[in-house]
């Protein structure tokens, strides 16, 4: 059993946008924990991830609205 794979599969089952956020935030958390041992700047990076997904949604909504 590969835990990362199990977890990754669970993440993949989520709604694509949420899956992207959760996967990226998890990966970010893992890197922070493994490399930095501190949360400095972490929340901003999480916001960046959410912002990226939200912006894509907004962009998609605008395109949908225009067409």
């Amino acid at each position: 059993m590969n835990l990362q794979k199990v977890l990754s599969n669970y993440f993949k089952e989520l709604d694509p946008d949420i899956s992207e956020i959760v996967t990226d935030v998890y990966s970010l958390e893992r890197n922070y924990m493994d490399y930095y041992g501190s949360n400095k700047g972490l929340l901003i990076k999480i916001k960046d991830i959410i912002d990226r997904v939200a912006s894509l949604q907004e962009s998609s909504e605008q395109k949908g609205g225009k067409s």
Binding site: M1, I18, V25, E29
Partner: protein, 644 residues
Amino acid sequence: MKIIYMRIINFKQFYKEHYIRISDSKEKNVTIFHGDNGAGKTSLFTAINWCLYGEGIEDSGEILSKQYYSESAINTEMPVVVTVGFIHNHVEYSAERVWKFRKLKDESEIIFKEFLLSQVSQKGNFEDVANPEGVMDSILSKNVREYFFFDGEKMDDLMRPGNEKITQAIQNIMKLPIIERTEDHLQKVKLEYRKTIKSKGSVKLDQILDKKSENEGQIEQLKKNIEEKKKQNSIAETQIAQLEQQLENSKELGTLQSQRKGIERQLDNLKNLRIQSLSKIQANTNKIYPLFMVCAADSALELINQQVEKGRIPSGIREQFLVDILNKEVCICGRDFCKDDDVYNVLKNILESTGSSKLEDEVLNLRAEIRQVNSRVLSNTDHLEKELQTYYQVLQNMEFLDKQKDEYDRRIGNADEVNLVAIDQTIKEFKTKQKLYDQEIGRNQERIDQLENQIVDLNGQIDLEIKKENELSGLNKREKLAETAEKAVSEVKEKFYCEVRKYIESETKEVFQALAWKQDHFTDIKLNDEFQIEVLDKWNLPTKSELSAGERQILSLAFISAMARLSGEESPIIMDTPFARLSSNHLIKTASNIPKLHPQLILFVTDTEWNQAKESDLINHIGLDYNLVFHSDGCTTVEEGNFA
């Protein structure tokens, strides 16, 4: 990760340099170090931990070789070096930790510390890796290290009731802290978004829009008012122009009318004068009627005068003369007489014989009166004449003025009476109104300017609010994403826990049953929600508290094996005295099975353990074996054995 060699220099009892190969063979995956108690097994175990993670030396005394220290002169630099070579993901690494000591009189001081991680490049050179600690941690995380590198003597503690390490172990292996941090941080981000939304959100936009509409309404009204005033102003302007034109046009007529009025006034005066003059003429005429009697009076006067001259009419003087003489009783000749004298009587008779002088007086008065009348008549006649002259003059003037008036009437014709003053007054009134309109327009314009400025300001606020609302909408979306992600992580975590729990139970049970000799007695292994491990017996009753030390060690080993496999990390299992508490049954079973559970096994065993383990299947998996020989000088040498 597979360890391929170790190099030790002056670490504890390993004096000078020792190079030790580690078996990385798939089949013969066990490297075994055996020796007496105190020979240096734990020191080697510690050396690996210290090299890779800088840990494990806290309770192990000085790491500098005492032999080396004793041989070194004061102020000499004394290096302690442990190098571990390993292969990870087909790349060869060399991890090296170096501490340098300086020898003082009775002690030593650390003067240098370094950890280097280098990897063999494609050209075959060792190249230093940046962030060596971080990269090492990514190869085999510090958090899970203790489930790969563990002390068998303490292993059974893991399964003692109340030990939290199991939970921690599971959490670490499952990367649970990462999941929980993910969940926790998503929640924090969500709350931050919420806080921002709260701080930025407002109902202001509606109020501002209402205010703007109100201002626009007011401006509209004021503009209408201005237009109305402008219209009125324009009307006033037109009227003023008309009136001024009328004034201009009427000036001549007005002057004529005014002059005619002057003539009329003069005529009125003359009429009055004529009436007065006529009255005077009438009065004078009445006074001169005696004029018609003047001839008769003159005739009568002449007659009277003739009679007087003839003496027929005594004069009053004579009568008075006689009276005076009688009264004085003195004759005109000077002779006195008295009343008894004849003279007196004569004179008295004369006086009496003259009779009454009344007629004579009347005639004389009449004559005087006639004379006076004549005089007055003459005077009145003069007055009359003068008055008549005046009258005729008045009539002449009136005739002249009538002619003038006729001329004016002709020129003025039937034109209405022109009231220039009234027109002028009306113009003034209109101009005053215009001023008032202009003032009102000015005030309204000023108010419009104020309101428009306010609208500009309100537009700015509206833009800001709309921007805020857009921002809020964006924030809201992000908050929802964070919330949904947080919930998703929570749900995934629960599912993941459940699956992993079952896996650990299954794996631990499989290994435990394979290693424990009472397979029929211990029927199941369970993890509760808090990840506390429990062993169930054949009656399905919890029996962990009844496990012997050896059984606890077996359970720990089974659990650690499950955890190591679960972690997905390909890493060696390094165990210090793994079989110390095991009875021969368990030892044989464990030693036989454990090489099959892990890709690489490095065991530090006592001679006793080793002698028993040699009886197991372990012997077939030994790739390299070393004998640790402790010498009387306090140093240990590593001697390659002959079981490989």
